[in-house]
Symmetry: C2
Subunit: 127 residues, 2 copies
DNA sequence: ATACTATTAGTAATGAGTCTTATTACTGAT
DNA sequence: ATCAGTAATAAGACTCATTACTAATAGTAT
């Protein structure tokens, strides 16, 4: 139950800043390649590990997609929208429905913490 | 625009039958290993390809998870529920909300075809 | 039966993500 | 400021789901 000490490293801050500075939805590798430009010694494992740690702490949001994870600077839960053709990912303008979590918690016996939703379709450019 | 011919092969039927005979949510590799028992010559690529083709035709449903794809015999769209600890996957007792697709189609300019939702939480056994 | 070609078996290749290990560098205590 | 303890790192090997390649096979229309 005791929290284990977490240190503040330059690399962790670089990763956090990189995600927060972007307004798209980069993959772990996107962030890694971006950081490589300014910090040629940063390691891929470091980027992946810090992205996981930061998303566990809630400072960054991990979007679970089937092909590969993407990351999001927004802290509040929200849904996403992906073009089936070109793969573009954007935020969906539909509010997160927390009532579903409560409803399903009662009926299923699970302790539901959250859900994630991805809408699929053709974007204006591809349709 | 012309439909390209699809052949009915023994292997494709084996794959379809295997998925439809199960009431859990097997991965592609689960199906491959199961078929190997009775048909030692079946190839992994064949199983993966046919699962994709069958899900494109709607005879089988592909569940998009971040770690690996799972498959489902049910044809109607529905949501899923995954235990964050043990990974167990089950169907969620909440109806698919097609109204969300229409709503977002109007506001986003996308042509939304569907959405997929996975609830996360601790199952009765793990909580 | 024949011709056409989708599909297959077998295997190599890809790519996201994890793991390993020796080294480095935070952090709290002296 | 120095020191000791140990979390975190760099570099690269590794895992594992999925795809790509290729010569051989087998549906299907004629």
């Amino acid at each position: 139950m005791k929290d284990k000490l977490q240190r503040n490293t330059k690399q962790r801050e670089l990763v956090l800043n990189a995600v927060q500075a972007r307004r798209d939805h980069p993959s772990a590798d996107d962030i890694y390649l971006e950081l490589l430009e300014k910090s040629p010694d940063i390691s891929k494992g470091t980027v992946y590990r810090n992205l996981r740690l930061l998303s566990e702490k809630g400072q960054v949001r991990q979007i679970e997609l089937s092909d590969k994870a993407r990351f999001d600077w927004r802290e509040e839960p929200h849904y996403h929208l992906r073009c089936s053709k070109c793969g573009t990912l954007s935020d969906a303008a539909i509010d997160y429905d927390a009532a579903l979590d409560r409803l399903l918690s009662e009926s299923s016996g699970y302790l539901i913490t959250h859900h994630h939703t991805v809408f699929e379709g053709l974007c204006p450019h591809c349709r």
